[in-house]
Amino acid sequence: MNLFCVGLSHHTANVETRELFAGHSGTDCVLRDSGCSEALVLSTCNRVEVYAASSTRVPTEAVARCLARGPEKEVIRDASAFYRYEGSECAQHLFRVAAGIDSMVVGETEILGQAKRAYESARTSGAAGRFLHRLFQRAFRVAKQVRTHTEITRGSVSVGSVAVDLAQKIFGDLTGRKVLVIGAGETSERTARALVARGVTDLRVSNRSAERAEELVRSVGGQAIPFQLWTEQCGEVDILITSTSSDTPLLTPQLLEPVLRERIDRPLFVIDIAVPRDVDPHVNDFDGVYLYDIDSLQSVAEQSLALRRQQIMAAEEIIAAHVADFRDTLDRSFSRGSQGAEHSSLGEPRLRAS
C-alpha cells in the first residue's frame, strides 16, 4: 500500500493557479479514476492537497485532473506547481501542515480545524479508511503536542488582536474597563468589537458624524458621545481608540497633561490607527500612557511572528520523532496488510474523529 500526498500551496502556486484547483471536492474522482483505495481532499484558501492510499502508483497529473476546475490544457500546464510526498514524507508534510508550520502565518490554528473537518467528511463518506485514519489521528496528536510544548501559537499576528492582547497585558481582565472610540471607522470598529468580545462592557463612541456613531453603537453596543465632548471622557476611560481623518493631532501632550494628574495611578492605553496620526507621539512620554500607532501595532505583530518562527525548530523535533514512530507503525501495518487475507484481525478498525 502506498500512502502519498499530492497538492499545491501558497509556497508553490500563486492565487490564480490555486483558484483552478480549489473549492470543490475531488475525492470521488480520485477514488474512481485513479485507483486509490482511500482519499481525502484538504482544500483551504492557501492549499489544495489530496492524501491518498493506493496499491499502485497514481501519477500526479491524474490527481491534478481530478482537482481541476478549468480546462484540461491549463491543468496540465499548471500541474508543475504540484508537489508530491510519499510514505513517511507524506506523514511529515501532514504533521507540519496540521501544526501550522507550513501555513502562511506560522502557528495559525485554523488549519487544524480545517484538517479535522476534511477528515470527518472523508470518514463519513467512507473515502477515508484505516490508513488515512491512522495518519490523520496521528497528525491531530502531533499538532496538539506542538501547540502544548512549543510557543508556535504565541502572540498575535494581526493588528486588531495585537491591540486586544496589549490591553490585557496592561489591565489584565478587561471586564469593567471603559473604552472610548473616536472616529467610527472600519478598523476601530473591528478593534472595539474584539475588546467587547473580551469582556469590555462600557464602550463610548464619538464621531464627527453623529449618525455613524449611533450606527456603531447600535451594532456593537455602548453609548454615543457628541464629538465636541470627547475630551471630557479622557479622565474616565482606560482605553482610547482613535481613527479620524483629521490632518492635525487631536490628542496632544498639552491636552492630556492636566487629565493625567487626576488619574496618576490608572494607566491609559491609546491606540491610534489613523493615518495621518491623531495622537501626538510625545504623549507616550507620560508615565502610565501607552501609545501604539498603526506602525507599532504592525511591528508587534511582526515580532510575534518572528517569535513563532523561532519555535519551528522545536516543533520540527517533535514532528521528526512522530514521523519515525509512524513509519514503524506503517511498516508493521503494511507487512500485516500483505497477509490480510489470512488474518481476520485486520478488519476495518473503528474510526472516530478526535
Partner: protein, 264 residues
C-alpha cells in the same frame, strides 16, 4: 549536620532556577508546577533546619549571620507560599528562587556560622521582634521582585519591544496589585517588629533604632504617596527596589555589628 538541610534546600532552589533558565532559553517557559514544588521542598527543608537549630539553641535561631540569612530566605519562601496563585503560577515564582538561592549560597559559603560557646538567654520579646522583622523583610523582598518585574513589563510596553519574557510576565495591573499587597503585609509586620523592639528589656543601639525608623518611614511614605495618588505605579515599583536595598543594608548592618560585639 543541620547545615546539610540548608545545602539540599539550596539545591532545590537551584533546580527551579535551572529549569526556568532552560525553558526561557528555549523560548518556551510554561508556568509549571515544578517551580512551586521545588520551592515548597526547599521551604520544608529550611523549616526543618530552623526547627532543629531552634531546639538545639532553645530559642529562635537568629544568633549569628548564617542563621539570620537562612531565616530571611525562609521568610521569602514563606511569603511566596502565602501570596497566592498570582505569584505561584507565573514567572513571578521563578524570580523568587534565584533570590533565595543567592542568600543561602552566601550563607553556606561565608564563614559566618559561628556557634556561641555559652547559650544565649531566651528573650521572647527579642525573638518576636527579630522574627517579625525578618518576615517583613521577606515581604519587602517579594515586593522588590514584583517591582523589578513591573519595570521590565512597563519598559517593554513603552518601547514597543516585546521579548519572549513579555508573554510570561503578568499584566501591569496584576503586578501592581501584588506590590500593594506585599507592601501592606511587609509594613504591618515591620511595624509589629519595630514596636516589639521596645519591650526587649534592654536598650537597642541608637544607630540601629534610627536606621530601622528610617526604613519604616520610607515604606510609610511609599504607601502614603500611593494612597494619596501622588506616586505613579512606576515610581512605586522603583521605590520598592530602593526601599528593599535600604532595608537589606540595614539588616546586614544590624547582624554584622551584633556579631562583632557579641561574646564568643
Amino acid at each position: 549536620m543541620d547545615r546539610h538541610l540548608v545545602t539540599i534546600s539550596t539545591l532545590c532552589f537551584l533546580a527551579a532556577i535551572v529549569r526556568t533558565l532552560v525553558e526561557l532559553r528555549a523560548g518556551m517557559f510554561r508556568p509549571a508546577r515544578f517551580n512551586f514544588f521545588a520551592i515548597a521542598a526547599g521551604f520544608l527543608l529550611q523549616t526543618a533546619f530552623l526547627s532543629l537549630r531552634g531546639h538545639a539553641l532553645e530559642r529562635c535561631p537568629l544568633t549569628n549571620l548564617f542563621e539570620v540569612l537562612v531565616f530571611f530566605a525562609w521568610s521569602v519562601a514563606l511569603i511566596y507560599m502565602l501570596i497566592g496563585p498570582t505569584y505561584r503560577l507565573s514567572l513571578m515564582g521563578a524570580f523568587t528562587a534565584p533570590v533565595i538561592f543567592l542568600i543561602q549560597t552566601l550563607a553556606l559559603i561565608a564563614p559566618i556560622d559561628i556557634r556561641h560557646i555559652q547559650k544565649l538567654p531566651a528573650n521572647s520579646w527579642l525573638e518576636f521582634h527579630a522574627s517579625m522583622s525578618m518576615i517583613a523583610y521577606g515581604a519587602f523582598a517579594l515586593a522588590c521582585i514584583a517591582g523589578i518585574m513591573y519595570l521590565l513589563q512597563e519598559r517593554q510596553l513603552k518601547t514597543h519591544q516585546l521579548h519572549s519574557i513579555f508573554y510570561h510576565l503578568p499584566p501591569l495591573d496584576t503586578l501592581y496589585a501584588a506590590i500593594t499587597r506585599l507592601l501592606w503585609w511587609g509594613f504591618a509586620l515591620y511595624t509589629l517588629g519595630l514596636v516589639s523592639g521596645f519591650f526587649v528589656g534592654h536598650p537597642l543601639p541608637h544607630v540601629q533604632v534610627i536606621c530601622a525608623f528610617g526604613v519604616w518611614i520610607l515604606y510609610a511614605a511609599i504607601l502614603q504617596g500611593k494612597h494619596l495618588r501622588r506616586l505613579a505605579p512606576k515610581r512605586v515599583a522603583a521605590l520598592c527596589i530602593i526601599g528593599f536595598s535600604a532595608a537589606l543594608t540595614l539588616l546586614w548592618g544590624i547582624t554584622f555589628t551584633a556579631q562583632m560585639h557579641s561574646p564568643p
